[in-house]
Amino acid sequence: MESLILSLLLNGIGLGLVYAAVAIGFSLVLGVSGVINFSHGIMYAMGAYFFWVLQGHIGFWPSVAITPLLVAMIGFVIERVLIRRVYGQDPLFGLVITLGFAMAVEELIRITFGSAAYSISAPSFAKGVFSFGDFIYPEYRLFISVVAAAMLATLWLLMEKTNFGAVVKAGMFNSEMVGALGNNLPLLRTIVFVIGATLAGLSGIIAAPIWSIKSQMGTLILMPSFVIVLMGGLGSIPGTILGGILVGVSTSLATLIIPRFVDIIPYMMMAFIIYFRPRGIFGEQNIVE
C-alpha cells in the first residue's frame, strides 16, 4: 500500500508540473494584458501537431527545437492581428475573439489531419520504467516532469531576476503607469503573448506522447488550465505551480478513495479556494479586478 501511495504521489506531482507548464502562459497573458486567452489551448494543440509532423521527417530533438519557434511565430501574428485590438476593452471581447480563433483553427486541424486520434511514441531513451518492488514510475513521465520544472524555473528566473520581469510584473497592476514611465507597453504585451504561446507549444510537445493527439485536445486542456490559474492567482508562477500540483496530486490520490469523482475534485478545490481567497493562493488581484 505504501508503495502504491508513493507511486500515486509522485505521479500526481509529475502531472501537476505538466498542468502548470500548460497553464502558466495562460496566466501570464491574463495577468499582463487582461485578455482571457482561449486560443492558448490551440497553441498547445499546434505544438503537438507540428511536433508530430516534424518528428517523422527530422527526428526528435530537431523537432523539439523547431516546434516552439513555429508556435511562437504564430503567436506573434495572432497578437499583432487579433489580440491587440482588444487591449483595454471589456474582457468579454478578448474571450470571444480568441475562442472564435481557436474554433476556426481546430476545424482547420480537423480538415488537414482528419478527426482521428494519433499517438506519438516516447523517445527511445525514456521508454522504460523505474521500479522497486511494487513501486513503478515511467521514465518518460520523469523526463517530462523535469522538462516542465525547468520551463517553470526559467520563467521564474526571467520574471524575478531581470528588469524585463520587473516591468512585466508592474504591468500586471498598472499598465498605463508602466507605459507612462517610458516602457514600450505594446511591445511588452507582444513579448508576453509570444512567451505564453511558446510555453503552450512546448507543453503540447511533452504531453503528446502520454495523452495522444486529436483536434479537440486544445479545447480539452483549457478548462483545467483556467481552474489552475484561478486557484494559484493571476500571473503568479509559484501559484500556478502550486495549483497544478494540487490538482495533480489530489486527482491522483482520489483514485484510491473516491475514484468515480476524480474529475470534479479540481472544481471543488477551486470553489473552496476562491470562496476564502478570491484572488487565488498567491494572487494579488482577482479576475474581475
Partner: protein, 413 residues
Amino acid sequence: MERCKKRCVRFQQVVLLIAAIFAFGLMASPADAQKKQPIKIGVVSPVSGNFADHGLLERIGMEMALEDYNNEVLGRPITLIIADDETNPDVAARRARRLVEVDGVKFLMGGVSTSTALSVGAVAEEKKVLYIATNQNGDQVTGESARHYVFRTPPDMAILVRAGAKYVADNLGKKWFFLTHDYSWGHSGTKWARNMLSTVGAKEVGELKVPMGTRDFSSQLLTIRNSDANVLVITLGGFDNVSLLKQLNEYKIYDKMKVWYTLADIVDVFAVPAEDRQAYVCAEMYWKTSPEMQKLNERYQKKYPRAASPVIDVNTYNGWLSVKILLEAIKKAKTADNVEKVICAMEGLTIKDNARKTPTYVRPWDHQVLTEVVFGKYNPVPGNDILDVKVTVPADQVARTKQENPVNVGCKK
C-alpha cells in the same frame, strides 16, 4: 381590326400553349412526382466531439451501401440527410426531431453512443418513424428501452461478453478487475462480464469507473497494477481509449496481467504504435474473416484512402449493413411511405450477402439484428492485419433469450 386579329391569334396561341403545359403537367405530375420523390434517410451521427471519427466511418458505410443499390429503391432515389448529434443525447433528440418535422424523413439511423440511441429512439416512437441504431451496443436499446420503432444493428454487450468470457477464464485468468467507462454502454459491458463470473468460475477483484473525456489513466493503472488481478476487463472507447492503450504499455500492465476489451473498435488501435497493441478483444467483425469482407475492404480502401481506419472497421460495416437492412425491408414491404409496413417487413428479415459466414437475421420480438462476433488478440506488429482471430461465434448462440429479455415490440403481439 386587322391588328386585333393578329393579336387575338397570338393570344389564342399563347393560351393554348399554357393550357397544354398545364394539361401535361396535370397528367404527368402526380404519379411521376410520387415515384421520383426521394426517400430521405435522416442520419443522426457524430460529426464533432469524442466520437467524430467513428461517425464519419459509419456514414462512409452508408454511402457504400447506397452505391450497391445505385442510389435507388422501388424506382425512387435515396437521399441521406446528415445531422451532427455531437454524441450528446439532448442534441441528438433535437436534431432527430428537426429531421422529422422540417425535412420530413420517415427513416432515421446512425449514432455511436447508447445514450443517443435512447434519446433518438424516444423521438422515433413519438413521431412514429423508423430508427436503426447503427453503432450502439448498450443493452437498453433492445432491452428495457426497446421500442416498436427502433432496431439495432450491432450486437449488444451480452453477445460480445459471452463470446469471449469462457476463453478468457480458461486461458488468461480468473481474477478480474473491471475498468469501466462511466456511462450506459460502459456499465453494460461490466454488468455482463460480472454476470459471467460464476458461469466461468472467475471472481471480481475490483472496479474503477472513469468518466468520458479522461486522458490520463496513470493513477487508475497504478491502482490496478497493485491489485492481485490477473485479467483487466476493459469497457472503454473513443479518443480516451487511444490514451489508455498507450498508457497500458507505459505502466507495464501487460507484464502483470492480461488485458481483455469487452468490445474494441479497431480504429482506436491503428492510432497507437504496434508495441502498444497487446490486448485480447471481442470485436463485432474483422476485415479478414471472409473473402467477401476482403472485397468490401478493397472497395473501402480504394474509395476512402484517407479515412481514419486504414481497413474497413465495424462503424463502416454497420453503416453499410443498416442501409442494406432498411432498403431490403422497403423492397419487401413494396413501400417507403408506410412506416408500419416497413417495420413489419424488417422483422424476421434475413440477409445472406452480408460479407460474413453467418447470415444477418433481424429478430422480430426485440428488434435486435444478429450476425456473428469475433474474439481475438491484437497483433503487436506493424501493418493492417492487427487481429489474430481465435474464435468466431454466431450471435444467436449467445444472445439474450426471451426469458432474459422479456420484451415484445414486434408487429405480432
